[in-house]
């Protein structure tokens, strides 16, 4: 299982999914109307490292996080 977490202001409970790459995750999340805007403006981290491409394999036990726009300070 891959755990998917939604950080900061995204009001969505974590998911546990049987997926092997980020393209599958994109397809699943794009079915959720409430997520469409967040998908356009959020960054993605796999095991706490930001990634810039969907062509990344993920395996059982990995953690994927969605990070919406930030504003520290």
């Amino acid at each position: 299982m891959v755990r998917v977490e939604f950080l900061g202001p995204i009001q969505k409970a974590p998911l546990e999914l049987e997926i092997t790459n980020l393209n599958q995750l994109a397809t699943i999340l794009q079915d959720d109307k409430d997520m469409l805007e967040w998908l356009e403006n959020s960054a993605v981290a796999v095991n706490d490292t930001i990634v810039n491409s969907l062509d990344i394999e993920i395996k059982d036990g990995d953690k994927v996080s969605l990070l919406p726009p930030v504003c520290g300070g």
Binding site: L22, Q30, V70, C71
Partner: protein, 148 residues
């Protein structure tokens, strides 16, 4: 050094501690930046969420950059609510020379604003409202979207 606090930062205490920690380290310059919550748009204060694992790795990469220049960075940030005229952020650079510290604090704070995984909310009328219009997309955002 990265330190997170629940609520407002004890600014005087932190600045004094950092000063004393490095007073014998032979740094010629100590440049602190203190961010304070201003009264604007009728807010009562600000509130913050932080994702610590990525904040720590981001900070550690900057600490390595500072080291290359013989400098160090210290940073403190608040979690949760910070009311008007209280402070939520301090970043400080210590370096042998003034010019390096002045340039470094500028670059560091700019990247902090653009990349550090911290989310800001306005506290207004007993509500916590995400400050989307003042927030910045992290580089690489949008890859999961239909246009990604």
């Amino acid at each position: 050094m990265l330190k997170l606090y629940d609520g407002a930062l004890p600014v005087s205490k932190i600045l004094k501690e950092w000063y004393e920690e490095e007073s014998k380290s032979n740094y010629g310059a100590y440049i602190p930046f203190v961010g304070t919550v201003r009264s604007e748009d009728g807010i009562d204060g600000l509130s913050f969420d932080i994702y610590e694992p990525i904040l720590e790795s981001w900070f550690s990469a900057w600490q390595d950059k500072a080291k290359e220049k013989g400098a160090i960075i210290k940073m403190a940030h608040s979690r949760g609510d910070v009311m008007l005229h209280e402070s939520s952020y301090i970043a400080s650079v210590f370096s042998p020379k003034r010019r390096v510290a002045l340039e470094f604090i500028d670059e560091f704070v700019e990247d902090f604003k653009a990349s550090a995984p911290i989310w800001k909310y306005d506290l207004k009328d007993s509500k916590r409202i995400y400050a989307l219009d003042r927030s910045t997309e992290i580089k690489g955002s949008g890859i999961l979207g239909v246009n990604g």
